[in-house]
């Protein structure tokens, strides 16, 4: 009899978990994590391009030192801010985004000032780096979009009744979104025309 009760209880709990979507929450949570790792990859890819870019630009006689220093600083700041994938809170995302935006800004200034150096614009190595950087900015934007979609699915699910009760019990917090960058500042510069 005792065993029967135990088994029934267990089945009941399992049923409750299923109907209240515990398993679904876990699945959605995992999706968000994997989308996040793709976002991080894309940003990492950009950070990895920077040393090469700086080295190439440096090769050109008296390139503005200040612009370069700013890029290097912003890069080290940006790579210093990482997010624990189990704690993707709105706050954490915002900090991450701020640090990365700083690098975006520094890079776009660098690319604007490149316009003044025709020898650089004819440099094959630099042109390759440019197209890589352009591709990386596209990747960042795509992965952010995908991440936002998975977070949206997760947040919607976790907030609905009765899933919100289970979510509260097991600590499935709402996760943060990437917000659109201010103005048209989004990967602007990297479209250096021809």
């Amino acid at each position: 009899m005792k065993q029967f009760l135990q088994v029934t209880g267990l089945l009941l709990v399992m049923f409750m978990f299923n109907s209240c979507g515990y398993n679904r929450m876990v699945a959605l949570d995992e999706e968000v994590k994997s989308a996040w790792s793709q976002v991080e990859n894309a940003y990492q890819r950009r950070a990895d391009l920077v040393p090469n870019l700086v080295a190439t630009v440096k090769g050109v006689a008296n390139f503005e030192q200040e612009t370069l220093t700013k890029v290097i600083e912003a890069r080290s700041k940006a790579t210093g801010v990482t997010i624990d994938p189990t704690k993707i809170t709105p706050d954490a995302i915002q900090k991450f985004q701020e640090a990365q935006n700083e690098l975006s800004g520094a890079l776009s200034r660098l690319l604007v000032s490149v316009e003044k150096y025709p020898e650089l614009k004819a440099n094959q190595n630099f042109l390759e780096l440019q197209s890589q950087l352009e591709g990386t900015e596209n990747r960042i934007s795509v992965e952010r979009k995908k991440f936002n979609e998975t977070v949206q699915a997760y947040n919607t699910y976790v907030r609905k009744f009765p899933a919100n009760i289970i979510a509260g019990m097991f600590g499935f917090q709402q996760k943060g979104y990437f917000e659109a960058d201010q103005g048209a500042e989004k990967a602007p510069t990297v479209d250096f025309g021809k």
């Binding site: 390759e128 352009e134 019990m169 917000e179």
Partner: protein, 260 residues
């Protein structure tokens, strides 16, 4: 019990983000997946019909032999969207390339906006790098497009992509790291397999091993199920030279674009 998510009904920031997401969805009005599926989708009607058939067959043959799917899409309008986003949405929504390999490529041409973009799936972006895509666009596509020769530009780009993917253009960034990781994974899998076999034979006596193997044998030699419909894995759909369907590949915005 904490009910932390019930009361936060109106969060202005969240509403703003939702609106933005919605706007983005509206923005990316990519054409629906062609039915029946085909690789050359000349929606802007800039490729002569007989050439279109030839190109389709070329791409289908390539897809059959390599499983890499290259979709050519010309559109009348991007609807204000960025070319990279438009091409990536097509790649993703149509599912160009095989699901496990993500080896799809979309060549997007928008003659009205004079924009083009080659979008690569996750699986091909390490071979067909952004820099190589850019080079193909600038050396082959744009000069032809300027002269109004859309078919020639696209066809030559396709040929160049074949060459890149078959390794005639060696990508610049090859590292040994991947190979090492692969070997490690392989060894790991063998160890796991060993443990499983040992556990099985300990449990079932000598017959355990035999069973494990016969089980796998059936799986491997079972009939190949051919699915019909949109989510096919590049299977033949009967007739000669016709395209079997997109495989559900996905991409992360890799590739390059250009305008003329």
């Amino acid at each position: 019990m904490r009910m932390q998510f019930s009361a936060t009904a109106v969060n202005p920031a969240l509403v703003a983000v939702c609106l933005l997401l919605w706007a983005q969805l509206l923005f990316a009005q990519v054409p629906p997946r062609p039915n029946p599926p085909k690789l050359v989708n000349d929606l802007a009607n800039v490729i002569p019909d007989d050439r279109e058939t030839a190109l389709e067959q070329k791409l289908v043959a390539y897809g059959d032999s390599t499983s890499t799917q290259i979709a050519v899409v010309t559109v009348e309008s991007l609807g204000g969207d960025a070319p990279y986003n438009f091409a990536q949405e097509i790649l993703e929504q149509w599912g160009v390339g095989q699901k496990e390999k993500d080896n799809g490529i979309v060549i997007l041409v928008a003659p009205t906006e004079r924009q083009t973009f080659i979008s690569t799936g996750y699986g091909v972006e390490s071979t067909l790098t952004d820099a190589l895509s850019k080079r193909i666009i600038e050396t082959v596509m744009i000069p032809n497009f300027r002269a109004g020769n859309y078919y020639e530009g696209i066809d030559q780009a396709v040929t160049a992509i074949f060459q890149v993917l078959s390794g005639q253009f060696v990508p610049e960034s090859e590292t040994g790291g991947n190979a090492d990781a692969f070997v490690a994974l392989f060894i790991f899998l063998i160890i796991i397999l060993f443990i499983i076999i040992i556990v099985y034979s300990a449990r079932n006596g000598g017959s355990g091993m035999g069973r494990t193997y016969s089980g796998r044998g059936v799986n491997n030699s079972g009939p190949v199920v051919i699915h019909w419909g949109d989510n096919d894995y590049g299977s033949f759909s009967g007739g000669f030279g016709s395209f079997g369907g997109f495989g559900g590949g996905s991409g992360g915005g890799g590739g390059a674009g250009g305008s003329w």
